[in-house]
């Protein structure tokens, strides 16, 4: 008995026997588990790893959400940058196109006016303005090369501008209607009283030779009378701004309706136009806010 006990100590042979037993039992267990053991082990492994898999899935979802958020934020920033760049480019483009657009709009307006006037009208572009200077005017890009002559009437859709003062080979100079040395034959729309326009500068003019007997209202439209053979009858000149009584005549001051400082393109009337044409301007019947009788 003592001999057997000594043989089964944890000697090298004992360890080998234990390894053999474990090897045999392990293989036997494995064999007895049969072909479905893999599935059983897989199921057991899945059950055992379910909590960690859940945690891993949540962690992955969180990371995915963070990545999506970062991506969407980055995309939004990129879109914002792109849109800002596009907006800036569009603004630059609009600013670049603005003069051309304004010119096109002006041309359309001139074309509309041209359709309403039964005369052979020409068009010209204002290339320079010397109005701030004394006896300044507007310089057109056309001259004798296009058949222009002196004293041709110049107008825009808002009203008359003036007349050609001098014509060179390729350019012309307009004498604006508000120039001190300008004169335009005009008439008042209601009273049909005629007079001569004399410029006062800054878009204002004085109508001379209107009798004290006439009744002139502030806000009344002033039209060309056609007597100067520069403008036909009925073109809008401006509106009465002020009427004062003079010794022999009324002092009628009007605001010119044409924006002389912002004119970029004009229409040119033919030389010596007929006195009577169909008036293109149907001046609105402005009710004057302040009535003033011209007669004492």
């Amino acid at each position: 008995m003592a001999l057997r006990a000594s043989r089964w100590r944890w000697s090298r042979a004992g360890w080998q026997r234990l390894a053999l037993v474990l090897l045999w039992l392990g293989h036997g267990t494995w064999v007895l588990m049969g072909p479905a053991s893999g599935q059983r082990w897989s199921r057991a492994g899945e059950a055992f790893s379910r909590p960690s898999q859940g945690l891993a899935a949540r962690w992955a979802e969180r990371r995915l959400a963070q990545r999506d958020a970062a991506l969407s934020l980055a995309e939004l920033r990129a879109d914002r940058t792109r849109l800002a760049a596009e907006l800036e480019q569009a603004r630059l483009q609009a600013a670049r196109e603005a003069p051309r657009q304004a010119e096109a709009d002006e041309a359309v307006r001139l074309l509309g006016l041209k359709k309403h006037i039964p005369l052979e009208l020409g068009a010209a572009r204002v290339i320079f303005s010397t109005r701030p200077a004394v006896f300044g005017g507007l310089i057109l890009d056309q001259g004798l090369d296009r058949g222009l002559v002196q004293d041709q009437g110049v107008l825009v859709p808002e009203g008359i501008v003036g007349r050609l003062w001098s014509v060179s080979a390729t350019q012309s100079k307009i004498l604006p209607a508000d120039a001190p040395n300008a004169s335009v034959a005009v008439m008042l729309m209601r009273s049909r009283a005629t007079g001569v326009l004399q410029g006062l500068g800054s878009g204002r003019a004085l109508i001379r030779y209107v009798s004290n007997q006439e009744v002139v209202q502030v806000g009344e439209a002033v039209l060309t009378s056609g007597l100067d053979r520069v403008f036909p009858r009925g073109l809008l000149v401006g509106y009465v701004a002020e009427v004062t009584q003079g010794d022999l005549e009324l002092r009628v001051i009007l605001n010119l309706s044409a924006p002389l400082d912002r004119v970029s393109a004009v229409l040119l009337l033919p030389p010596q136009p007929p006195v009577e044409v169909q008036p293109p301007f149907l001046a609105p019947d402005v009710k004057p806010s302040k009535k003033q009788r011209g007669t004492p």
């Binding site: 045999w24 293989h27 494995w30 064999v31 072909p35």
Partner: protein, 162 residues
């Protein structure tokens, strides 16, 4: 006359070569079965060194089943090999050999037992399966590989027949 046990290095070397041949002869299942039986029944068992023989036998079983690609659950052949090699090692220590005839007779008994155990264990592990012809080839060629293993493990010394 009790025969001396072959040297451990020589036996391990033969086992290693035979195991490699088992793996390499996978395209020829009958030859593979012969080599497998040779390794498990003749070369691996060694009295007093059961663990190394068991490991060789287990390795042979796993290699054979892995190369066969037949069973859905491996391990049956290795378990049967382990059982047989432990039995053979115990028998070698309990009844030492005295000649070639006894060796062949022991191998024959072990071969039958091995065949039955292998198929039983494989049935347990992987379910019903074809028997094949390896067991019959092993049994029929037993004199050949039994003699060969005898010569390998106990080479003649030149003093006469054993």
């Amino acid at each position: 006359m009790r025969l001396p046990a072959p040297s451990s290095l020589r036996q391990q070397l033969f086992c290693g070569v035979t195991l490699a041949l088992v793996a390499l002869t996978a395209p020829f299942p009958v030859v593979q079965a012969l080599l497998h039986a040779l390794l498990v029944l003749a070369l691996a068992p060694r009295p007093g060194a059961a663990l190394s023989g068991a490991l060789w036998a287990v390795a042979a079983g796993w290699v054979l089943e892995s190369t066969l690609h037949l069973y859905p659950h491996l391990g049956g052949t290795a378990w049967a090999n382990l059982t047989v090699v432990l039995l053979a090692g115990w028998m070698a220590g309990r009844w030492p050999l005295e000649g070639l005839r006894g060796w062949l007779a022991r191998l024959a008994g072990l071969c039958v037992l091995h065949g039955l155990l292998v198929h039983g264990a494989v049935r347990l592990a992987a379910g019903p399966h074809p028997w094949g012809w390896g067991w019959l080839a092993s049994l029929l060629t037993l004199p050949l590989w039994g003699w060969l293993s005898w010569r390998l493990l106990h080479p003649p010394t030149g003093t006469g027949r054993r």
